[in-house]
Amino acid sequence: MTGRPSLATRPAGRYALLVELPDAEGAAAFHAEVLRRRAAGTLPPVREIVPGARTVLLDGVPDPQALARTLTGWDVPPGAADDGDVVEIAVRYDGPDLADVAALWGVAPEEVAARHSSPTYRVAFCGFAPGFGYLTGLPPRLHVPRRSTPRTRVPAGAVALAGPYSAVYPRSTPGGWQLIGTMPDPRPLWDPTRERAALLAPGTRVRFVTADGIPAEAEA
C-alpha cells in the first residue's frame, strides 16, 4: 500500500530543502523512498541526503522549489525498507549505568541485557561523530533521560541509551548517554578505508546479541 506523504518542506538556503515528516516512521519511509528514487535514477541531482529525527535534508539541489513541488505528488510506501541484512552487534552488558537503567526500567540489572537485545533496531540518522548512529526501536516505556552530568570520556564501543535512542560510540569522546554495555571490538563501526565506512549507516537494521554469541533471551 502506498500513499501521498504528509510532509512540509522548509527552505534551507538557496540550494537545499528540509523535508519535515509528522514522525520518525514517516521520516524513515520518506528517506527510503528518496534512496529508491536515487537508485532508480529518477531523483534530480542531490549532493547530500541527510536524515534527521523526523526530517530529511536534501542539500546541493539545483532547484529546491521545483523539487519541493514534485515531492507532494510522490507515492511513498509506509514504513522503512526492511528487506536488507541485519547487522548483529555483540555486547557485554557491563556498563557503569546498568544499575541506574535497571532502576529506571523497574527490573533487576541482569534483566537489562534481555530487554535491550530484544528489539530489532534501525539506524534513523547519524551525527555527533562519524559513524555514530542513532538507533530507534526501543519501546517507549524503556526510554531513559540523559545523565544529568555528562562524562568527559566515554570509551569507544560503549553501548548507550538516551531518550528514544540507543547507540554505540565509534570512538572515545565526551558523552552524556547512559552506558549499559560494551562492544568488545568497536573497530568495524567506523573504517573510512572500507567501501561502507560506517557500519551503522542510516536505514541499517541492527540486533544486539550478548557477547558470548548467544542471543539474549527474548523479553516475554
Binding site: 522548509r10 527552505p11 534551507a12 538556503g13 538557496r14 540550494y15 537545499a16 528540509l18 519535515e20 549532493r47 547530500e48 541526503i49 541527510v50 536524515p51 534527521g52 529525527a53 523526523r54 526530517t55 530529511v56 535534508l57 542539500d59 546541493g60 540518522f125 547519524c126 551525527g127 555527533f128 561523530a129 562519524p130 559513524g131 555514530f132 542513532y134 573510512p192 565506512a197 560506517a198 549507516a201 542510516p202
Partner: protein, 293 residues
C-alpha cells in the same frame, strides 16, 4: 623525486585543506575543506595545480616551512609579509623557494587565514577522497606541529613568474545576505527584525566549526509550555553550510566547513554560499550585519 616540507614553526593553527568531503554528511562526516575556498583555488591556479589541490591553511600567525628541494609556492588569502631566507618575497604570486631555504609566512596584517599552495599540491594521505583536516571529527591529517614533515606532489606544469592576481581584501565589515532558515518560525517577528537590523560583532571564540557573534540575543517565540521555562527542544535535523543556528544564549552562530552534520538548535537563516569566503577572513571584533536578500 618530490619535495618534503619541514615545519620550522607551525603557528597558531596550520592545517591541510582542500575541497573537503562532500557526499558523506549522512554518516556524520562534515564537509571540511578550506574556509576561504576562492583563495585556495586562486593560489592553486597560479601554480598550475588543480584548483582543489591540497594547501596549508594558517590562522593569524602564519607558519615557517623549509623544503628539501626547490619548490614554487604561493601565499595568498589573508595578506601577510612573506620572506625567503629573510628576504622579502611576493605575497599573492608564485615565489621560488630553493632547497634548504626558509619560507616564512608572517602574521596577517588583515583577515585571519592565509593559504600556502605549493606546485604539485600537498600530498597527505586522503580519507574519504579528501586530505582536509576536519577539526570537529578528527578526520584527515592532524594540525601541523613544529618539526612535522609534509610531502609535496608532482608539479603538473612549469610555472611562469611573475603572475599578478586579484585578491579580495579581508572585510572591514561583514555584510551577509541571508535567506530565511528552516526554523525561522521558531522566532518572534521581533527576533527576525533584530537579526537583520542589529549590529553584531565577530566573537573571538570563532573557529572552523562556526563563526560566533556577539550582539543582541534572539528570543524564540515557541516554548513547550513546561514549567521549567526552558525553550522547546528541536529533534536533531540536518544542517547546511552557512546555517545561522541560534543556541540557548540567543547569539547567532554561522556554521562553517567543520560544522556538525546534524544539530538540535533552530536555524533562523542561511548565509548565501558566496559570502562565506569573507566570513572565513573576518577577524574578532569585525562588525557583522545580516541582510535579507
Amino acid at each position: 623525486m618530490t619535495a618534503k616540507l619541514t615545519t620550522v614553526r607551525c603557528g597558531a593553527l596550520t592545517t591541510v585543506q582542500d575541497s573537503g568531503r562532500p557526499g558523506h554528511a549522512h554518516l556524520g562526516v562534515p564537509l571540511s575543506g578550506a574556509l576561504d575556498a576562492p583563495a585556495m583555488r586562486l593560489a592553486n591556479r597560479l601554480l598550475g595545480n588543480d584548483p582543489g589541490a591540497a594547501v596549508l591553511e594558517t590562522t593569524l600567525t602564519g607558519c615557517v616551512l623549509r623544503p628539501d628541494r626547490d619548490i614554487t609556492a604561493v601565499v595568498g588569502g589573508a595578506p601577510c609579509p612573506v620572506t625567503v631566507d629573510g628576504r622579502p618575497a611576493a605575497w599573492g604570486a608564485p615565489v621560488r623557494v630553493p632547497a634548504g631555504a626558509v619560507l616564512e609566512v608572517g602574521a596577517v596584517t588583515a583577515g585571519v587565514r592565509s593559504y600556502v599552495a605549493v606546485a604539485g599540491g600537498i600530498a597527505a594521505e586522503p580519507v574519504l577522497g579528501s586530505r582536509a583536516t576536519d577539526l570537529l571529527s578528527g578526520l584527515g591529517p592532524e594540525p601541523l606541529r613544529d618539526g612535522d614533515v609534509v610531502e609535496v606532489g608532482t608539479p603538473a606544469l612549469p610555472v611562469a613568474l611573475p603572475v599578478a592576481a586579484p585578491w579580495p581584501a579581508p572585510p572591514a565589515e561583514l555584510v551577509l545576505p541571508v535567506c530565511p532558515g528552516p526554523r525561522a518560525d521558531w522566532f518572534s517577528p521581533a527576533a527576525l527584525r533584530t537579526l537583520t537590523s542589529a549590529a553584531y560583532r565577530v566573537s573571538p571564540h570563532s573557529n572552523r566549526i562556526g563563526l560566533r557573534t556577539e550582539g543582541p540575543s534572539l528570543e524564540r517565540a515557541r516554548t513547550d509550555g513546561l514549567p521549567d521555562g526552558l525553550p522547546d527542544e528541536l529533534p536533531s535535523e540536518g544542517m547546511v553550510l552557512g546555517a545561522v543556528q541560534v543556541p540557548p544564549d540567543g547569539r547567532p552562530v554561522i556554521f562553517l566547513h567543520d560544522h556538525p552534520t546534524t544539530g538540535g538548535y533552530p536555524v533562523i537563516a542561511v548565509v548565501a554560499g558566496p559570502a562565506l569566503a569573507a566570513v572565513a577572513q573576518a577577524a574578532a571584533g569585525t562588525p557583522v550585519r545580516f541582510t535579507l536578500g
